[in-house]
Symmetry: C2
Subunit: 226 residues, 2 copies
């Protein structure tokens, strides 16, 4: 029996690169999907291309959905600055309904591929407090997926796999390192430069750096200034 | 107190034009959203522009998401023919996860606008058997919306309003006629020509024509041949 296909959402960051490695270890033929939603920079999508290639994805597609027209986030609206100090509550880097939109696109592709699994690298511990990274959100999307598609109606619903959801950043890094993920290829920074070098100051950089420190592993991130 | 904003999904067809009229009657400031998902023709989006303008929408946005790359439907893949005879089961005109994707985009925009309502013109009676037009799908998306967004976390979730869901096509047409909808502006046909003229033979045309007949109202549809 040939390996089953799975869709893996790939942002180019540390978490989704690890999710891809886990999906591969579980034996899936991985169809990587990145969403170009009008991010501030292209470095993230370039990183996704490298991660897909080096991470053994069968193929990699980038779907474009321009969310910059609706704005509402520091990641899609140049008029909103990326914060460089910790903030309370849901940060301005939250992109309205981003994971809902990305999972919806993944669900459509999964249905065409006949894939029964969608992998997404969300995690709730050491995360940024985004509502659409919580286990209850993932469970609700799974319930939706059972009703939303032809495959679901025919008794073959697509499951949402979030293998990192209960892991700390350090645990994610240890797991990915065990699986051979090259984190030097990934870009987590919310304001990386065109070469993919990180600012070292935004929330994503802080969480990532603390993760490598807590995992007692060398941080391969390329910073543009420190 | 000023009127509340709502997002209204507008396809350019008969149902969503009626949903817009209902949202307007309920007093909402309507922000119309059409999704260009690589449909076979542009006539549908042209119709959406006319319906938004004549239907009193505050604004109208078209978001492009190219689903033709994933295919899987007669509406997005030119290699799959639109059937001109009734079929059993879920027809090939079903676009994988289409309503999930459109509602996800509407949810993101609603959050930015501060809108608490999203109107969608799905209906289950006299509909085409699509899984994502059923009441249980709409309810599941509502449950997801409560968890997916900042507004939901803050106790102001967005509701999914599907005012046509329990209506027959004839009842929809009567309600829209009462509200002044000009159905001559709408295009339902799955294979309309560039001028928006309907084929008269596809599933959407058959349902629409039967609806006008059952409502005992004149059918203003422009057919290209009969």
């Amino acid at each position: 029996m040939s390996a089953a296909p799975a869709v893996v959402l790939l942002s180019g960051g540390l978490d989704s690169a690890t999710a891809l490695a886990i999906a591969r270890e579980r034996g899936f033929l991985c169809h990587a999907l990145s969403v170009d939603y009008g991010q501030r920079h292209a470095a993230e999508l370039e990183a996704a291309r490298r991660v897909a290639r080096k991470g053994g994805a069968q193929e990699h597609r980038i779907m474009r959905v321009d969310l910059s027209g609706i704005g509402g986030s520091a990641l899609t609206d140049p008029a909103i600055a990326v914060p460089e100090q910790p903030t309370s509550g849901i940060p301005v880097t939250y992109v309205p309904a981003r994971n809902t939109i990305m999972l919806a696109l993944a669900l459509g592709w999964a249905e065409v591929l006949g894939a029964r699994e969608i992998f997404i690298g969300v995690n709730v511990i050491d995360a940024s407090g985004y509502p659409d990274c919580r286990p209850e959100f993932i469970a609700a999307f799974g319930a939706l997926a059972r009703l939303a598609t032809r495959a679901g109606v025919e008794g073959k619903p697509c499951r949402i796999e979030a293998p990192l959801i209960g892991l700390t950043k350090a645990e994610i890094i240890r797991e990915g390192t065990r699986l051979g993920v090259d984190y030097a290829e990934t870009v987590s920074c919310y304001q990386a430069d065109a070469a993919g070098r990180a600012c070292g100051r935004c929330d994503a950089c802080r969480l990532r750096r603390a993760g490598f420190a807590a995992a007692a592993l060398p941080d391969p991130t390329r910073y543009r200034s420190l």
